[in-house]
Amino acid sequence: MKYMKSALPAVFGLAALASGFPGVSAGAEDAAPEQEAQERDIFGIIKTAVNKNDRDLLLTAFRYPVSLCINDRLEVYQNAEALKKYTLAEIIGSEGLVSSLKTSLDSQSSGEAFEVSYGNYQVMGIGAYVSDSEMVGISFTEQGIFSVNGPGCGGLKVPKLQFCGDPEQDALINMLAQNSFWMFNNGTYENFRDHAYSRLEMIPGDTVAGGSYDFVFEGKKLSLERDPGSFHSAPVFRDAGKEYLILAPAEPGEEYCKYPGLCRPVPFVHVFSKDRGAAKCDPGEIVLAEKYTLNFCPFAPRFNAEIRLFTEGFTLEQPELFQNSYRNEAGDMALSFEERKVTRGSGDESYEDTGNFALLTFKGQKFEIPYSLKHNLVFRNGDTEILAVPAGDYERANRDSENLGCVMEDQCIRPTERMLLFVRSGNGNCERYPLERQN
């Protein structure tokens, strides 16, 4: 059940952390002057409080209510008074961490605390590391500290949530929340079955300031506004009429961020909804699945399984794949690749570059898209989408290239014998066509 147990120590465990936190100033210049001043205030309070072992001063910096794990117990604290039964060291984690934090803060100015934007607000963070079981990360906005996190309470936790008012649904929410990945991955998630067609577009918060989410429910596009006070691994979104709780739990035994910065999409997203202010949820939750690896052909599970088989876990670096050409027996389908000069930018800024294009002929229709090594090829024509997936005997492909990395890591070379075309119409129905390699 410890789906995420390795995530925090793995990140903390890097030796570099022990030597202090290097500055990251991304986005700092965009902050409004008064916001920056307030951030400096919070930073200053933490610094002074830690230096002088002044618990009461530290408590003024929290944004209440705040959920904290203290002495291995996760609770929500409504105000400073409720935290006064603990020492500063208990709140931070240990005496060792206080001292480590002190050293670290003394060598930093507020600008050197690292900063990310999440959802629609900016977050600052400072931290200290003593050992894998003794570390802390303090996160704050201009409004105050909202989390102090370490490996206690099993790492990353949320307090018990009540959203749906039904004991079974709320228990499910809490279970999913405990195992949810805090940050949704990039991707498109769809559901064709439970209600009407639902779709969720995910744009990760750290590349798009403001964190844009697009959610199409029963054919209607919603613009969702994140509740800034909601939990990161269990965020609440709102629109004019409804509230949505969105959870992205990891599958048991699966890790989604094996390497820093290289995360696969969490395949399932669970959405609970209710009318704003209602006591009870709408019946059932919607489970959406990641479109291009799991749910491209929602009514043909075997097609989905085959897409997944030849999509997940392969190395991204395989330019030779795009030197082949493919066609079917009848000759009315063909896929080839082309490299040519393109002009990028505009006016004085324009420059010549090499562009790579995939050209598809499909039953008389012609498609052309720029391709990237990172993704499967998707050709679009209105509601119809054609997904091209390289397939074949990957054992042979990896043996022939003596790629030993395929055994343990997600570094297998894609086979190139065949290119499978999955053609999906707007209603979700799929057809499959194999094209054979010609060269």
Binding site: S139, K160, Q162, A171, S233, D410, R418
Partner: protein, 369 residues
């Protein structure tokens, strides 16, 4: 390093306030401690009337992750009448799910066959816990057992709770024939749109408790994928796709097989199959019952004597698609073996080896009778 710090920070930002009201957890009162000391002290212990809910609510107070799972499945499985005692019956609906296996490292576990399915399932610090005494008054949806390695011994103070958790992956794979509801959808509650074909016994969870500390393990029904391929997504997908519970059935019609590097060869026949690794020949003894050749152990003189293997046939799925939309058996063009260096399917991969074998003759003789 920047991305590492961003990741670190992201991962340490779980709780930024309260928006929904809250339940302050933790009911570790004296009364509850008494409940647990009573039921762990005596094999014949009975949960006092009206206290069963406390047993479940206070089972893993120090591990909110595990407790959250218990909280949900106790309600869910009670409401849907998904009872552990029905597991053997439910699995008779299937043809391939003959054993449960776990890859969990927190609690060293053994694979165990469907028959006597709970027997010998758990080892504790290497010691098999063979005897399970039901704690009277615990619920059928999540029965609790006192466990001990020795029938005559005093209670160890260890409890184990078992409940069915299903398999989220299969929510999308509802066409596969083995995913059926245990009661044939007689229970309307169970048969809503999404759950109709969702087999709750696809996975079961065992939680063990000693001195208030819990560990948990998820057992998959004959899905060795999670055992053999902890970090290899491709191999995991391959199992999902080609293994007997997967999407295609490939028949083994060739007798003689060999790996490309010549290290491994196999002879597959109806009566006796053998696997030769590095010149040492082993008999393949089916371990999942005669109806499932996929899981078994090896008998021979070399280092893999009495070690487990997992085997599945694979091939060119194009044939199967073009012939029919039905699940049609096609000739296997590859045999994939994972041979474990242990008698358990655990996640210590370093001892396991994977061999991919190809037919020795392009159009070989049929090995099957």
């Amino acid at each position: 390093m920047k991305s590492v710090f961003f990741n670190f920070l992201k991962k340490t930002l779980p709780a930024s306030g309260v928006f929904l009201g809250l339940i302050l957890g933790g009911a570790a009162h004296g009364e509850e401690a008494d409940l647990f000391s009573a039921i762990t002290a005596d094999f014949r212990a009975q949960v006092p009337e009206g206290k069963a809910a406390d047993l479940y609510a206070g089972f893993c107070p120090r591990d909110p992750e595990i407790q959250a799972v218990i909280d949900y499945y106790v309600i869910h499985n009670n409401r849907k009448r998904i009872y552990v005692q029905d597991i053997p019956e439910a699995l008779k609906l299937t043809t391939q799910d003959t054993s449960y296996v776990s890859r969990n490292s927190d609690m060293p576990t053994r694979s165990f066959p469907l028959v006597n399915w709970i027997y010998n399932a758990i080892t504790w610090n290497g010691e098999p816990m063979k005897f399970y005494y039901l704690v009277q008054g615990s619920w059928a949806a999540a029965p609790v057992y006192n466990i001990t390695p020795d029938r005559e011994a005093k209670p160890t103070g260890r409890l184990v709770m078992v409940f069915a958790t299903g398999d989220s992956y299969n929510l999308l794979e509802t066409d596969a024939p083995e995913f059926q509801s245990p009661d044939g959808c007689k229970n309307d509650n169970f048969c809503n749109d999404r759950l109709r074909d969702f087999n709750p016994f696809r996975k079961i969870t065992m939680v063990t408790r000693e001195d208030g500390h819990c560990t948990s393990a998820v057992y998959s029904a004959a899905r060795v994928d999670t055992e053999s391929t902890v970090s290899n997504v491709i191999a995991k997908n391959e199992v999902r796709f080609f293994a007997p519970h997967g999407n295609f059935v490939f028949e083994i019609l060739h007798r003689d097989w060999g790996s490309a590097d010549g290290r491994a060869t196999a002879s597959i026949t109806h009566d006796l199959s053998t696997l030769t690794i590095d010149g040492e020949k082993y008999k393949m003894i089916p371990g999942g019952g005669p109806w499932n050749k996929g899981v078994g152990y090896l008998k021979g003189k070399g280092k893999f004597h009495e070690k487990w293997y997992y085997m599945y046939p694979a091939g060119n799925e194009d044939q199967a698609y073009s012939e029919s939309r039905q699940l049609t058996a096609r000739t296997a063009g590859r045999l994939v073996f994972t041979v474990f260096d242990r008698t358990t399917f655990d996640n210590d991969l370093w001892g396991s080896e994977r061999f991919v074998l190809y037919p020795k003759k392009p159009a070989g003789k049929k090995g099957k009778k």
